[in-house]
């Protein structure tokens, strides 16, 4: 009885999800920022105005602190009347099942039947190599071996601070199936500039259709990756088998498509 009552009292309507603090749909959010205004009474009003501009209701400054002359930091709590259609998002974002290393190897033997060549690097001026090493090197990450350890892959890891052009040249030279790039420094959108440059070079080389273009890094989301012209993006929490699953599934799908295409072409279907 109480259990069912709890259920009904607290059941969330996924069509209209609001923030939660301690009462269903209370919509409470915390917002924090610095404003370039002096630390004074009028400043808190500026913070409240900014919160209101975000559509927040009953904002309250719970903390404000002098940063230096002309700069003040604020913490604001407020009710956020906005809601989100979570049902729609769930439908859009199927939760993917990744294969284990063994499964990837079996799948590849079955569906691809040859060594898959991948070339990876942390490119541009970025010296962070731990992410790409985690994906490619034997040692891998958190107990999960990198692609080097997979029977089905031949992996080249060029390391870090690699010019995009060098990475692409290597990919061409070894006839890579996939180019893997890692980006860690994001300040002033460095990663965006650098990833865009890589896509440009790949396209200029005329090999865009022939390779999978994969990027990853702590602040690289799948959305961003796709926006920039990559096939996929991987962020925090990625294990090598996630990457491997993607590559083999995608290559298999492309092979099928390519076969169908050539069959179609042969049949004069274009």
């Amino acid at each position: 009885m109480p259990e069912s009552m709890i259920q009904s009292v607290l059941k969330t309507n996924y069509g209209m999800v609001k923030a939660y603090a301690d009462h269903k749909n209370d919509g409470i959010v915390q917002v924090a920022f610095t404003l370039p205004v002096p630390y004074a009474r009028s400043s808190s009003k500026a913070a409240l105005e900014l919160a209101k501009a975000m559509g927040l209701v009953r904002p309250e400054v719970v903390h404000c602190q002098r940063v230096t002359d002309g700069y003040t930091y604020f913490i604001v709590y407020a009710h956020c009347p906005h809601s989100v259609d979570f049902e729609a998002l769930q439908a859009d974002t199927p939760d993917v099942d990744f294969m284990t290393q063994a499964e990837v190897e079996a799948f590849s033997a079955d569906r691809i039947g040859r060594l898959i060549v991948v070339v990876g690097a942390s490119t541009g001026t970025d010296t962070h190599s731990v992410g790409i090493d985690a994906m490619l090197n034997l040692k891998g990450f958190d107990g999960h071996s990198g692609l080097e350890a997979y029977a089905c892959f031949r992996a080249y890891n060029l390391g870090s601070q690699v010019p995009n052009g060098v990475l692409v040249a290597k990919a061409v030279a070894v006839n890579a199936d996939a180019i893997l790039v890692s980006q860690t420094v994001t300040q002033q959108q460095l990663h965006v500039h650098n990833l865009a440059e890589l896509v440009d070079i790949v396209e200029a080389e005329g090999i865009r259709k022939d390779v999978l273009l994969v990027c990853g890094g702590p602040r690289v989301s799948d959305e961003l990756a796709k926006e920039l012209g990559f096939d996929v993006g991987f962020s925090k929490g990625t294990y090598p088998n996630h990457l491997a699953s993607f590559i083999v599934t995608e290559l298999a799908a492309r092979t099928v498509e390519a076969r169908r295409d050539s069959r179609l072409r042969a049949a004069g279907g274009w």
Binding site: P2, E3, M5, I6, V9, L10, Y20, A21, D22, H23, K24, I28, V61, V62, H63, Q65, I75, Y77
Partner: protein, 522 residues
């Protein structure tokens, strides 16, 4: 274990004796008195529950009825015993009849007092035995599961809505909390009755009702069973219904109760005598049912300066402890309180806190001492609060506290949001694990800052206890000894609920519970 603080055993012994004397004198000064809430407790333990259509609880109707008929000095047990003999009905049935005006307890013929005593004592014994049975089953359930090693991690929930509290409690359990305490709505303490039924509206907390206890207990038991770790439930034996809440806790299988002898006096302006009589019975119930009690010295540090008030904390801990012992509570079930409340800008404040926490630990070697987080000086800056909580967690683990109430980043702002508890718990887990054996690894410099501070606080506490012995506890409270707050013996709420007991007064539970625990103690 050797004293890390180089405490003088003589001073310790003397302080203990003084506190024990204070407690004894309080008890004897209050003998021959009872209160309406004690009588309602008797009714509750005999199974009286429920409320009438105006939501007046039957225990209140029953006791008010007896009072209105000027029968209260005999005790409600007396009248119930007699009525049982006369009508063959049970206490709940009798209460219901009284509530519909179908029975006048005090107008029934009265049998011989010995007869009444026999019958009602038997009823009380049976009632206790039933509850003990349930308690034993719970203990088996608990022992069949994992439990965290101390410090047990104590987390409040306080949404105002018991069903939301359940959600918060699940978050607490999922994130490593060991004890969930549903804090009470602001209004409850001064109500001279316990609200009835599940409640979904409360300010600053959720009403402690028996239904709410049950809802939370079920939710925690379900979690415990499916996660293999036992979650404890706590509430507050305080306010005008102190002993009734203890009875409700026993009935609903609570494991822990905040239960201070003086809090109601100082922080709720409840009459001294009323509180001291009520606490005696509430602690008897808690002691008998092996419910761990927690004292509230933390509060003093919120209205007085923590550096200066340290001796009063120790004095109060000892008095609270001996008052609990007077009620038959075992050492293993008395969690004396202390808090990390020194202003963050005090130089070497951490050392002072460390000294005090270790002092509490050493003065009560067999008690699960309870340590409470910084709150007074916390503000809207959650990171600052979190930094203070981190050092608080460090001192907790390094001084082997038995129970720790966690700090949360929004401590200075509002009753925490669901993720605040999760983030607070995350910090506790981090520090407890990362500093697990720190306490054993370090020794304090002989006669250094920490040792000297602890020794000084102990000496000053002894001074204070001598003073309390001299003037008596009532006068000491009037003189702002605790929390810098003054209360007068004849003022405060609830004084009208005290009454003198007659020679015929009956409350068999006292003898049954004390007798029993005294045996267990030996």
């Amino acid at each position: 274990m050797r004293s890390k603080l180089g405490l003088d055993a003589g001073v310790v012994a003397e302080a203990r004796e003084a506190a024990a004397l204070v407690a004894r004198r309080v008890s004897s000064s209050l003998s021959g008195k009872s209160t309406v809430s004690v009588e309602r407790t008797v009714a509750r333990l005999l199974g009286v529950d429920d409320a009438n259509e105006l939501e007046v609880p039957l225990p209140n109707i029953l006791v008010d009825h007896v009072r209105d008929h000027r029968g209260l000095s005999h005790g409600v047990a007396y009248w119930l015993g007699n009525a049982m003999i006369q009508t063959g009905k049970s206490a709940p049935q009798l209460a219901r009849l009284v509530a519909c005006n179908e029975l006048d307890l005090c107008q029934l013929d009265v049998v011989a007092e010995r007869r009444i005593r026999e019958v009602i004592t038997l009823e009380c014994e049976r009632a206790l035995e039933n509850l003990k049975d349930a308690q034993r089953k719970r203990q088996e359930f608990r022992l069949s599961l994992r439990e965290s090693p101390p410090p047990l991690v104590y987390v409040l929930t306080a949404t105002g809505n018991v069903y939301e509290d359940v959600t918060h409690a699940r978050a607490v359990a999922d994130n490593g909390g060991d004890i969930v305490a549903v804090i009470r709505s602001t209004a409850q303490s001064l109500l001279d009755y316990v609200p009835f039924g599940p409640t979904t509206e409360g300010y600053g907390g959720t009403f402690a009702t028996q239904a709410n206890f049950r809802i939370m207990r079920e939710a925690l038991d379900e979690w415990s069973a499916s996660n293999g770790r036992y979650m404890r439930l706590s509430s507050f034996c305080s306010g005008l219904c102190m002993p009734e809440i203890a009875a409700m806790g026993a009935i609903e299988g609570l494991d822990n109760m905040v239960n201070d002898a003086l809090y109601g006096i100082l922080y709720r302006d409840i009459n001294m005598r009323r509180t001291l009589i009520d606490q005696r019975i509430s602690r008897m119930v808690n002691g008998y049912f092996d419910i761990v009690i927690n004292t509230g010295e933390d509060n003093y540090l919120r209205t007085a300066d923590a550096v200066q008030a340290a001796p009063s904390v120790v004095a109060s801990q000892l008095i609270n402890y001996y008052l609990a012992r007077e009620s038959g509570v075992k050492d293993s079930h008395i969690a004396v309180g202390n808090a990390f409340e020194i202003h963050p800008t005090v130089t070497n404040g951490l050392l002072i806190e460390w000294a005090q926490a270790e002092l509490t630990r050493e003065l009560f070697p067999d008690c699960p001492v309870k340590f409470m987080p910084p709150t007074k000086h916390m503000d809207g800056n959650g990171l600052r609060t979190h930094a203070c909580d981190t050092l608080f967690n460090l001192v907790t683990i390094a001084t082997r506290q038995g129970i720790q109430t966690i700090g949360v980043p929004t401590e200075g702002t509002f009753t925490p949001h669901i993720h605040d508890r999760v983030l607070g718990l995350e910090c506790v887990r981090y520090v407890f694990n990362s500093a697990r054996d720190l306490g054993e690894e370090i020794a304090f410099r002989q006669d250094g800052f920490i040792q000297s501070r602890a020794q000084q606080v102990l000496r000053d506490a002894l001074q204070l206890l001598r003073y309390v012995v001299d003037v008596g506890l009532f006068e000491a409270i009037e003189q702002r000894t605790f929390g810098n707050i003054s209360r007068l013996v004849d003022e405060g709420r609830g004084a009208d609920g005290i009454f003198e007991t007659s020679d015929m007064y009956l409350n068999p539970f006292v003898a049954l519970m004390l007798g029993d625990t005294t045996c267990q103690n030996q």
